[in-house]
Symmetry: C2
Subunit: 205 residues, 2 copies
Amino acid sequence: MLTAKGAATRRRIIEGAAAEIREMGVAATTLDGILGRTATSKSQVFHYFPGGKEELLLAVAAREADRVLEDQEPHLGDLGTWQTWDAWRDAVVERYRRQGVNCPLGLLVTELGRTTPAAQQLTAQLVDRWQAALRAGIERMQVAGAIDAAVDAGRTAAAIVAAIQGGVVILMSTGRIIHLEAALDTMMAFLRSAAPTDVPGHDEE
Amino acid sequence: MLTAKGAATRRRIIEGAAAEIREMGVAATTLDGILGRTATSKSQVFHYFPGGKEELLLAVAAREADRVLEDQEPHLGDLGTWQTWDAWRDAVVERYRRQGVNCPLGLLVTELGRTTPAAQQLTAQLVDRWQAALRAGIERMQVAGAIDAAVDAGRTAAAIVAAIQGGVVILMSTGRIIHLEAALDTMMAFLRSAAPTDVPGHDEE
């Protein structure tokens, strides 16, 4: 177990490496660049990351995955009204508009090897956490009577994560953000259409 | 302009290279492997692809992009009833279930460099064609009175393409197909919820 000081140093190396990679790209990032930026020595880096480059890249990827969720706060953790859902939608679009065609996490996962167990686990965990937060939000809206209880909250949350992911991939591949916006808006329209009060004369089938 | 025989030879080289890449992966594919499989000579390959490896890979990527759409036929071109929409949905899921974690087009685009103009143009064209076909299907349903005329067909088509893309990326990254299914099903539920006959008592806002 790391001491508080050790944990802080490890954290500083990860943050510095993440910043270096965001600025230079994965390919152009060197150990020297990271050492210079973090004011650490090579032996410190290998002390905290005995697995070397791959272990450090994996830690940076985990940090970037955390950031994907952090950048959606405080909205993602507070999806209890349509107002917060709308604010969350705007925050997601803004985050990816700022980020543009270069997704640090996507590049790191590609570098680590998309199909390696470590990269798969990292991606799966991010998807799971993202989905759980959205599911909790849908369930809150169901408890509040704003979304029909018959909607499968978990499956709909999975669909929303997929829709965002697809919008981001198309943004990264074409430079266009319209797909991300359309995907989010259509998912929101689906949730709103599932509001019991919206369909007063709806026949139960 | 190529003669008929020349076009056939060019086509044979592309198909052979595509098959070789599907079997071996991009990295392990060699010119000799392609020559052996297509019964062509090195000088023939450079005659039809003077730009060499990159030009050939781009032609193979274009072929794989065509195949993405072909594999959705005859359903994608015939989205005039809920029955054909359901058949299309199942065909998409089956295609990607068979394909699993390795997407030949995705790997080729990564190899060509996702952000190169040629790769971006290829991806954008595929997205546009896919979206146009879905838009035509939504518009047919609107003309038939099965989907509310107020639904933005183009934007919804863009959302569906994004949702599929995201489901496929999560499948490639985690091995799970549930996101693709959930994304498609939620989009279909949205379209069905926009059927005018489904909400006889719906208040116009």
